[in-house]
Point group: C2
Chain length 469, copies 2
Amino acid sequence: MTEYLYQRLASALRQQIEQGVWQAGDRLPSIRALSSDHRMAKISVQKALHTLEASGLIEARARSGYFVSPRAVRAGGSQTGDTDSPRTVNLPQLFHEIMARSAAFDLCPGAQLGSPAPHLLRLNRHLGRALRHQPGRKAIYYGDPDGLPTLREQIGARYRSRGCPLDPAEIAITGGCQNSLFLALMACCQPGDTVAVESPAFYGVLQLLQQLGLKVVEIPACPVRGVRAEELEAAVRRWQVKVCVLTPSYATPTGATIPVEEQRKLVALTRRYPLTLVEDDIYGDLGFHLQAEPLKRFDTLGKVILCGSFSKSLSRDLRLGWISGGQFHRRIVQLKLINQLSVSQATQEGLTSFLAEGHYKRHLASVRRQLMNQRDQLVDAITEEWSGPYAHTLPEGGLSLWLELSPAVDTKAAYQALLAHNIVITPGALFTTSSRFDHCLRLSFCQPVTGVRRQAIARIASVLGHQSP
Amino acid sequence: MTEYLYQRLASALRQQIEQGVWQAGDRLPSIRALSSDHRMAKISVQKALHTLEASGLIEARARSGYFVSPRAVRAGGSQTGDTDSPRTVNLPQLFHEIMARSAAFDLCPGAQLGSPAPHLLRLNRHLGRALRHQPGRKAIYYGDPDGLPTLREQIGARYRSRGCPLDPAEIAITGGCQNSLFLALMACCQPGDTVAVESPAFYGVLQLLQQLGLKVVEIPACPVRGVRAEELEAAVRRWQVKVCVLTPSYATPTGATIPVEEQRKLVALTRRYPLTLVEDDIYGDLGFHLQAEPLKRFDTLGKVILCGSFSKSLSRDLRLGWISGGQFHRRIVQLKLINQLSVSQATQEGLTSFLAEGHYKRHLASVRRQLMNQRDQLVDAITEEWSGPYAHTLPEGGLSLWLELSPAVDTKAAYQALLAHNIVITPGALFTTSSRFDHCLRLSFCQPVTGVRRQAIARIASVLGHQSP
C-alpha cells in the first residue's frame, strides 16, 4: 500500500473522529500543533485536513480552524442490535424488483447521461478488434473453462500490485462477480447450511442464500468499520456457521471498510474454525485515496474465496468476473463448466489487450476522482436540502453512502412513492432479512448529483419528511 | 412442417428400412413400381432415392437398382439393455477433460480451419455496431433479467415458424444452452431427486446431475428413434422420476430423432404423472431436410421446459441461449438473476438485428447443406477405411453420428492413444454412467472430413483394430 504522509495523518484523524476522540462540533488542533506533534510539514498537514474536509468529516470555519462535522456517522455509533439466530431467507418481491431495476445505482434512471467516457470508446475498440480476430475459430471452439490465460495473468498482476500475489492458475474467469459469489456458495455449502453476512448486507447475497436454500445469520456491522472478528467468532461458536460473506472494502450499502488489523483477525478465524470466507472485492479498485488490499492476502490455508469483476469500475456490460477459490478452486471450475461452459473469448481477448496497454489503470485514476467529486456533490445536496435527525456515512471509496433517519421513517413506503416521480432509492429493508433498517437508505453517487438528480435529493427529503424548511 | 412429396417417400422408405421391412442387402422396388404405388412422378421417386443414397442408407448398383446398405443401424436394432435403477452420479475425470477440450466436436483440434464463413463476418459487424451504440448507458445499467424484449420476439418468431408459438414473455435469455439446462434442473429439482435421461445421454447433462447432487435413471434409447414413451412411463411408475431430459431432434451422440407420435405420447405423460420434461433443442435448427418441431408444442400444462441456443448453428462464442420455463418460468428468471444478473446487452442487440434482417435464416440454409455434405464425407471415409463388424447411424441433422464396434473394443483406451496423434474422439463411456457403451464412439462431422481429418479416420480405425486390410 503506497501511502503518503498526509494520507497517514488523514487516516489517523479519521480514526480518532470515528472513535469519538473528537466529537461533532469539536475543534481540531491547529495546523501548527499537528505539524509539530506529527513531525511533518505544514503543507502536508493542510493536505490531510483538505482530504477530511472534502470527505465532509470536518468543516473549516473562517479564522477559527477545523471542526468535526455534525453529520458524520461514527464508528460503533450505530448499534444494529444483537446477532439474530439463523433463519431461512424469505425475501419479499421488492428484492427481485430492485435487482431487475438495474437502476438501483442511479436515482433517476430515465435522466440523461453524459457523453460516454473516452475509456469506454477505447474499450470498445479493443473488444471490436478481438471480435474480428479468428472469428471462425471462436465460433467453433468454446473457450478454456478456466478462462483466457493471458487475462488471468493480467488479473494476477493487478492483485500483486494490491499486495496479494495470485498465481494465474489460482484464478478462473466467470460471468461476473454475482456469478462468482454464486459459484463460491454452491461450491462450499449444502442446502440448510448457515451462512453469516454483514448486516446491512448486499441484497444480491441475501437472494443467493434464499435461492440456494441456505440459512442466514446477520452479523451487526459498523457502518464505518464493518464486521468485527469478535462478533463473527461469537456467531461461529454459537451456530454452525460454515461460510461468511464479507465485502472488506467500500461495502454496499454503507461504504464501510474493515481496518487491516481486523481483517487479519477475521482470516485467522478460518484457522481455528471450519469456516470459509467469501470475499466480495467488487469495490476494491474504487478507493479514492488508498489502494485497498484484499482479505485474501492473509489467507494461508486456501480458505478465503476471492470474487471480483470490472462491472463497477469499468463496464457492467462486460459480463465477466473472476474467482480465486483456494481449496475449492477445482470444484468451482467444474461448477462453472456445467453452469455456463465458458465466457466469451472475444470479450476476454479485448479486455486483456485493454489491460495490458495500461488503459484500465489510467481509467481508474480518473474514475476515482470523479466518484469522490460525486460523493461530495451528494453530501452537499443532502446538507442543503435535508433537516431533522439524520446521519450519513462518508465512504472513502465505492459507489454509495448510507443514511440513518428518524426511527419513525419508513423508507420502503418512500421507495414506492418516489417511483411515481421516476426516482429509484434503495430502502434499508433491502439489506437485511429483519426490519432493523426500515428507517435507513442507501444513496448512490454513481452519477453526477446535478440537474434532475440534484432535484431528486430534495424530493426524497420531502417524501421522507426530512426536507429543509 | 413444409414437406415435399419426395421427402415423404424418403421418410416412408427410411422408416421401412429402420423397421426391418427391407433388410441390409435387400433390393428396393424399382423406380417404376414405386412411382405407380405412391402415385408420384418418376422424377420425385428418383429424388427420394438420391436423398436416401446421399445419407448412406441405400446404395445404387449399376443396372440393378437400389439396395439397402449393410452398415445402417436400424431402429430397435441396438439393444442397450434394461433401465438401471437410480444411482448417484460419480463421473471420472475424463468427463471434465472432454468438456474442457472444447475440441470434442473436432477430430483434429490443431488442424487448420477454412476461412471464416461470410455470415460470421456479418454477425461481427452487427455485434460491433451494437457495442458502439450507447456504450455509456450499457456500462452503467445491467440488462433486463428476462433479456432484451426485441431478441425474445425474434426467438418467439422462430419457434412460431417451427410450429411452436411462444409469447416473448415466456422466453428468457440465458448464458447459453448449458446454462439453460442448469437453470431448468435447479428450478425443478432438489438434491437427491431422480432425473431420467436418454441413454446414451449428453455428457453435459450427466455432469450437471453429478454437480447438483441428483440421481440418474438411464432410459435405453434407440440410436435412430430415441426414447419411447412406454419405457419412460415404466421408469416413472417404478421410481419417483421427477424430471426427464430429452433431446428430441438430432440428439448427441446418436443423431436420433423422436418420431412425432412418440413425442406426443411423451408429453402426454406429464399430464398423468408429476413429471417435468426438459427439452434440449440445441440441434433443432440443424435438420438437413426437415424443420424439426419441438416437443414443447404439445405442452398444454407448462410442464415442458424448452432450452436452446445458437451455439451449434451460428457461433459458440455468443455465450447466449434461451429458456421457456412453463410453470417454472418465474423461478427460473429469479435463479438466472442471482446466477449472473444478465447477459451482455451488446451481444443481445447485435444478434437481434442480425436475426431481424434475415441473415440467420439464410445462413441456416447453407450450414445445413454443408453439414449434410460433411456427414456424407465422414460416412464415405468410414466405409473406405474401416472393416470388421461395425454399424453407424445416419442422422438427418445435427453434428455427429454414433458407431457401434465389436464388443471387445475399448474406445476409452483408444481415446488416450489417439491424443498422442492430436486426434480427439469422444468415446461411448462419456454418454453413460454405466459401461454399456464402452465399445461405441461418437464422430462429429462439424468440420469437412478432408486432409488431416480424413487421415484421422484411418488412424482411428487402425487404433481400434478396425482398419481395412
